[in-house]
């Protein structure tokens, strides 16, 4: 029944596919990415999508000036970067010519499907690794928000009275700040890093969850089966854990899923402002931040990561919306 309805809804199929793509990219990044995301080939800066470049690797046992000279005089076709590895320390030089020296460890042709950025890094590989960061932020921050929100919301709803008033006033204050501004304030006060972002997003976004859980508890508290459980002398805690929370699971899951989308967007925004992931971390927001100055000459390096953010956020939003519609067809889809 549910499966049938699921397959008929294009929204949930799209949502699940987008989420799956991001999750698979994130988990299998080392195997899926064609190159190391931080590997710079300065010769290949700002190359457009689909650019195929030759890379010739040389390994020298010692630093021989004459060999380097020979390499520098060697003839090379266009689109070739030569990576010279001296004593396993990599030296990279752009050569216009190549000699007959047979020191090459191999010539490879690499296609940069999404082009390269201003350091000659492969954008596709960076986007694939970026999925990891987005997923990590999404889940960690959402989990933090979930834990705080459920705890405070349940405390508030089950106890009522003063505890309820204090907690709800506190959530009011938290709601008093525009989310992004609050995040900017926190990350600016501390040293910007991804860990700060994880924490800050979680600490700022829990009030929504708290209000939701409180509402659920208040509503369920009046139900007859909870009342009879109370009459039977079952403790508040048991009632909460055994009866109330399992029945509020649906809206909690929905809020959690939508929270992931929100957290991914928040991380991207902060990193875009330079207040999140620091270079060379391949965070999508940071990628756009670093390449926005080259928008005119290399628009692809800003466009591709933005697309990735949109797909990830859209995926989790659609998934959340669809879960809500499936679990409760009466709840109308809003935002």
């Amino acid at each position: 029944m549910i499966v049938n309805r699921t397959l008929k809804d294009p929204g949930i199929i799209l949502g699940i596919s987008f989420v799956l793509i991001i999750v698979v990219l994130g988990i299998f990044a080392p195997w899926l990415a064609p190159r190391n995301p931080n590997d710079q080939i300065l010769e290949f800066r700002h190359k457009p999508p689909g650019f195929a470049g030759n890379i010739i690797n040389y390994r020298l046992a010692q630093d021989l000036p004459e060999t380097s000279m020979a390499l520098q005089n060697a003839f090379v076709e266009d689109n070739t970067a030569i990576i010279v590895d001296v004593l396993n320390r990599e030296h990279r030089i752009l050569l216009k010519n190549i000699s007959g020296e047979s020191l090459t460890t191999g010539k490879e042709t690499v296609t940069f499907w999404l082009g390269t950025d201003q350091f000659g890094r492969d954008i596709l590989s960076r986007i694939i690794y970026g999925a990891r960061i987005s997923l990590m932020v999404g889940f960690t921050a959402s989990l933090i928000a979930l834990s705080i929100g459920v705890l405070l919301g349940a405390l508030s709803g089950i106890n009522g009275g003063k505890i309820d008033t204090i907690i709800m006033r506190f959530t009011d204050v938290m709601f008093g700040f525009p989310t992004l501004l609050f995040l900017i304030g926190i990350t600016a006060a501390l040293e910007p890093s991804l860990n700060v972002v994880f924490l800050a997003v979680g600490l700022v976004t829990w009030p929504g969850m708290a209000r939701l859980v409180r509402g659920q508890v208040l509503q369920l508290k009046e139900q007859e089966y909870i009342q009879s459980a109370k009459t039977l002398g079952i403790s508040k805690r048991t009632i909460l854990i055994r009866h109330i929370l399992p029945n509020s699971l649906a809206p909690i899951i929905v809020t959690f899923t939508l929270g992931i989308a929100g957290a991914i967007m928040a991380e991207a925004s902060l990193s875009f402002l330079g207040l999140g992931a620091q270079p060379p971390t391949p965070s999508w927001g940071a990628m756009i931040n670093n390449s926005k100055d080259f928008l005119r000459i290399a628009p692809w390096s800003s466009l591709a990561p933005g697309m990735a953010i949109a797909i990830a956020v859209l995926g989790f939003n659609l998934l959340g919306d669809s879960i809500r519609d499936l679990l409760d067809p009466k709840m109308r889809t809003e935002r």
Binding site: L181, G185, G285, L295, R335
Partner: protein
Amino acid sequence: MIQYFLNRLLQTIPVLFGVIVITFVLMYIIPGDPVVSMVGERYNEETIQRLREDMHLDDPLFIQFFRYVGNVFRGNFGNSFITGEPVINLIMEKFPNTMMLAVGAMFFAILFGLTAGILTSIRPGSFIDRGIMVLALAGISAPVFWVGLILILVVGVMLRWLPPTGFGGIEYLILPALTLGLRSAAYLARLTRATMLDVMSQDYIRTARSKKLSEWKIYLQHAFPNTLIPVITVIGTDFGSYLSGAVLTESIFGWPGIGRLALEAIMKRDFPVIQGTVLFMAIMFVLMNVLVDMLYGVVDPRIRLERSGK
């Protein structure tokens, strides 16, 4: 009505107080000595001691807090570490620009959002409906800064229709306002559609139809006024955050508003400006939400009655 307004105003007092506490605390969790970051590298003990005394930094925390609250109420947000100018002057200088951008963004949001919402609700499930709704969802999910960059690239650089960035006449306002308003437009489109669909299935619409009123008349006279509620909701959720500085949009377009002021202060670690702008924005946000709640009360008597009854 007055009772409802008063209640709503009273409710904001603890919120505003909490906002002040949080901005105050924010300054104290900053690692490093504010005085050291104020005087920079070339400092000596004497200057630092003098400044610490000037700023009363050695007083007990709660005395500092009450002094801070007092200053805030007198409109004194401190002086910039860098230019020495009063923070409130900096804010007041930039705020009209932010206001202008916010109004522009809301204009586009309502224009596009309402049109899209009504168009899609005429024939739910049709091609137009699905297309616009997918676009709306994409509009909600696409990062603002990315949309802004695309607009700069396409409209500003490639087509050269409008100046890509900067500040000046109305032609500079269009792109940032579109960028900022997009999310609200998308949200409003979805909300309007849902409201219209709901309204169109009500009994009084069926009555109007059975009276053989023309579909257009039903739409415009009977159903359309109901879209006022989603419009206010969107203004309520988004206008406050526009006014509180569209940090991302302003930074992309080089728009000299308070969002950019705050961001520049963060980059220069100009703490009084950071604290002042954050506090100012949060106050604007809270006040805006109150205003919108009151507007609900004016528009919808049900809300007014329900809330003042408690």
